[in-house]
Structure formats: C-alpha cells, structure tokens
C-alpha cells in the first residue's frame, strides 16, 4: 500500500513541478496520470499492490469529492443570483455533450469483437 501510494504521489509531484516549471496549461495530476501510464507501459503493467491501492482509491472517488462539494456553502449568493441561467445551461449542455459523444462514437467505431 505504501509503495503504491508513494508512486502515485511522486507522479503527481513531478506533474505539479513540471506544470509550474514549464508553464503548461495542465493541472499537475493530469501530467501525473500520463506519467503513470508511461510507467505502466514501461513496466508491462501494475504490480498487485498498485492495482489494489489504485482501485481502492478509485472505488472511493465519491468520498474525495465531498470536501470540495461542501464548499457550496461559501457560494450560495453566486448560485442564488444566477440560478435560472444555471438551471438551463447545465442540463442543456450535458444533454448536448452526451448525445454528441455517443452519436459520433457509434457512427465511427466498427463492431467490438470483445463484447
């Protein structure tokens, strides 16, 4: 668990440093994600420990969003002033994003042999 957590944090750390150093428009964790992917390609896959720890984190992804979500209490005024725009913008744009992605994907991809 500790080795895997160290690897994840080191990837994020290098990502964070790289983003700031090179002034990249990418958040540090995203660069860390790419770094871990390269690491996995180089090592030919994750070891059991990384697999367990990583998937444990991903399974509890929802919990990790909670502190940021509670931050809504500092934004109540902004939400109150813009509620109508948000009530339209969020559902309409989400629906548009869903159907665009799914439609293009279904049109362009052939049959899936593995499913």
């Amino acid at each position: 668990m500790l080795n895997a957590l160290t690897l994840l944090v080191v990837c994020q750390f290098i990502g964070e440093v790289t983003a700031r150093f090179l002034n990249l428009p990418l958040p540090g964790p995203v660069i860390g994600l790419v770094l871990l992917l390269l690491w996995l390609l180089w090592r030919g896959g994750p070891d059991a420990e990384l697999e367990t720890t990583g998937n444990w984190l991903l399974r509890h992804f929802g919990l990790l969003f909670v502190p940021a979500g509670v931050g809504v209490i500092n934004q109540l005024d902004a939400l109150r002033e813009n509620w109508l725009a948000l009530l339209v913008a969020i559902p309409v744009s989400t629906f548009a994003g869903l159907i665009t992605t799914a439609w293009v994907m279904q049109r362009l991809s052939g049959s899936d042999e593995e499913s």
């Binding site: 994020q12 958040p27 992917l37 998937n55 929802g62 909670v66 809504v72 665009t100 992605t101 994907m105």
Partner: protein, 238 residues
C-alpha cells in the same frame, strides 16, 4: 454547559472534527443510498454534501474550520486522478483498436458540452465568474478545479457545477440513448465519461463493464483535452 462549550472550542481548532464528520457522514450516506435503490438522487456524494452543508450552516461553523480536517480527504483527489491511468492501461488494446473514433467523439462531445454551457449562461446574463467556472464542468473535480482557477473562475463553484453535471448526466443518459437508438456499450460509456465524468461512469459500471471501462478512459482523456482546449476557448469568448 460551559464544559461542552470549551470542548467545542477545542474540537473546532483540531482537524479531527472535520475529518471525522466527513467519514462518518460518508458511511451514513452510503447506507442511505443503498436503501434508496436506483433513484438518481441516491448518490452517496450528493447525500453527504446535503447532510454536511446544512450542518455547518446550522452550527455556524466556517468552511475554513471544516476544511482544516477535510483537507486530508480532499488531498487524495490528486493521487486518485493519477490512478485513473490503471483502467486506461487495462483497456489499452481495445482503446487502440478504435482510437480514431474515440478521439473524434471525445473532442466533439467535450467542446459541445463546454462551449454550450458557457454560451447559454452568458446569453442568460450570468456573471463572468459563473461562465468561466462552467467551462470545465464535465471533467472530474480535481482537474475541473485546477482549470477553473487557471482561467479566472472559482474552483469551489466549479466543483459544485461538476457535481450537478454528473447528476444531470445520470438522469438524462438512459433517455437520450434510447432517443438516438444507441446500443453500443462503448459509445454509452464514452458519453457517460465525457459528459458526466466519474459520477455517470460509476452508474454505467453497474450496467456494463465495457461501458465502465470506456467511461474511465473518457474521464482521463477528457481531463487532458479540456485542460488544453478550455483556455483556448475562453480567449475566443471575450
């Protein structure tokens, strides 16, 4: 009574309270969600916020005091985002095979979701902070907060919009797929990940493992694509 007051004052200054209450409420929310069945509001994350936010308001606890403890949970978002490389790696072979379709669909869906949100909000008179905070609404929270901060939005507003977007996607997904007659689970999963990030993907995982894998891929890729495209789109939006 005074003793309780002193205890409260003490607890408010330690991270223990914020951390403890977050974990306990999360457990309660999970119990509640599993009892509510397939109701789209039965999301442990939403339920946790719905319990914690009023709790802080009623007890007059400032968010900064709560966050002192909650930051330890919040911090793990970074490593968890890095860990999204795992499902991507696991599906690399299938992803390579339909790489062109995936990239095209991802770019189209990502731009449509983000641009339409900003344009609608602006047309309806929303403030600039709101418009900018809406831009990264379809990507996973840590990335969305990073992008929002970078382009002059408000990270905590972005986190709220991300949450609302995920819940909307869960609600709209079955209906919209039926409407367009899309039965391909790869397409459904990709759409869930692009338009509804982790929340919608977790829901799709219950329906089909294929959809879950493509959703996981979409979360990671969309994070990268949005982080690159949104700053560009914002410069056009002046």
């Amino acid at each position: 009574m005074e003793k309780i007051f002193h205890l409260w004052v003490y607890l408010e200054t330690t991270p223990l309270l914020g951390l403890g209450v977050t974990l306990v409420v999360w457990q309660i929310a999970n119990q509640l969600a599993s009892r509510m069945g397939s109701n789209p509001l039965a999301n442990p994350m939403l339920l946790s916020v719905a319990i914690l936010a009023p709790l802080l308001l009623i007890t007059h606890t400032p968010y900064s005091a709560y966050f002192q403890g909650a930051q330890y949970v919040h911090f793990l978002l970074g490593p968890a985002t890095v860990a999204l490389a795992l499902p991507m790696y696991a599906n690399l072979r299938r992803i390579r095979r339909s790489a062109r379709a995936i990239i095209t669909a991802l770019l189209a869906g990502s731009v449509v979701a983000s641009a339409s949100a900003m344009l609608i909000a602006r047309a309806m008179g929303a403030s600039r902070v709101i418009v900018l905070s809406l831009a990264p609404k379809s990507v996973t929270t840590p990335i969305a907060m990073g992008i929002a901060e970078q382009i002059g939005g408000q990270p905590s507003l972005a986190a709220v919009f991300v949450l609302l977007t995920g819940l909307t996607a869960i609600t709209l997904l079955p209906m919209s797929m039926k409407l367009l007659k899309i039965h391909d689970m790869r397409a459904q999963g990709l759409a869930a990940g692009v338009a509804g990030h982790g929340l919608a993907t977790a829901r799709m995982l219950l329906v089909s493992e294929t959809a879950g894998a493509f959703g996981g891929l979409a979360i990671g890729l969309n994070g990268i694509v949005t982080a690159i495209l949104v700053p560009l789109m914002v410069t056009f939006l002046r």
